[in-house]
Amino acid sequence: MEDNFQILGTYLTIRLPAEVDHHNSEELKRKADRLLMENNIHCIIFDFGRTNFMDSSGIGMIMGRYKNMRFMGGAVVAVRVNERMRRILTMSGIYKMMDIYEGLPEQSNLI
């Protein structure tokens, strides 16, 4: 799981697993929050590259991290989002809080 978290500068990239449900969201929350405490992070990048399933527990996990980031004046971004994941993110309204990219955005050299 550790390999799925990468810090470059003030960017934290989280490579999400194939399925983001209640079970693995809890683990992701714990790991992400520990890294946020120990490092000076201004942006969290959620990489959906290999994710094909997410339910509302995943939305809750992202929203929670978004709140942490906002509190510190940072941002949250989603990259490599497929059609299904975009639908879930749109339905939940969370797309208003974050930039969503189908591929990798310009700052991809940081991922």
Partner: protein
């Protein structure tokens, strides 16, 4: 295909069983020849119902969750049942963004997702009497969609 078919699953309310429940129901669903999107819809709705039973119904205690799936008229009917604490105000619980577990970072979207991804949704519950969530989805005939 118009035959009826039924299956029943019973498992512990542990979060590691969420994936197992999704895969099992998806496997049962394949006999209706669903599209990938229909499979994803059913998996998401089911995941919401099972997660609700684990987090809210049993509040983390390990008890039994039962899933009954029935197939008829090209439709899948799924019932997810727990014997947990039950729901006091079902209408309120079904409102988008409403959650009783704010501190656990719950999105409050569970029932909204079930409604959005399934055709019908029926919730029967009362405090102390457990919860039953019954939902159906018609799997449309899309013969040869991937064979052309």
């Amino acid at each position: 295909m118009n035959t009826e078919n039924e299956m029943k699953l019973e498992f512990d309310s542990r979060s590691c069983n969420e994936g197992f429940a999704r895969v099992s129901v998806a496997a049962f669903l394949t006999q209706l020849n669903p599209t990938l999107e229909e499979v994803a819809d059913v998996k998401t709705a089911l995941s919401e119902a099972v997660t609700n039973a684990i987090i809210h119904g049993y509040e983390g205690k390990v008890e039994k969750i039962t899933i009954t799936c029935r197939i008829f008229d090209q439709t899948i009917e799924i019932e997810v049942k727990d014997h947990g604490v039950g729901i006091e105000d079902i209408r309120r619980a079904m409102e988008p963004l409403f959650t009783t577990k704010q501190d656990c970072e719950r999105a409050g979207m569970g029932f909204s997702f079930m409604e959005a991804f399934m055709d019908t949704l029926e919730v029967v519950s009362s405090p102390g009497k457990g919860t039953s969530v019954k939902m159906t989805k018609k799997i449309l005939h899309t013969d040869n969609r991937y064979e052309r």
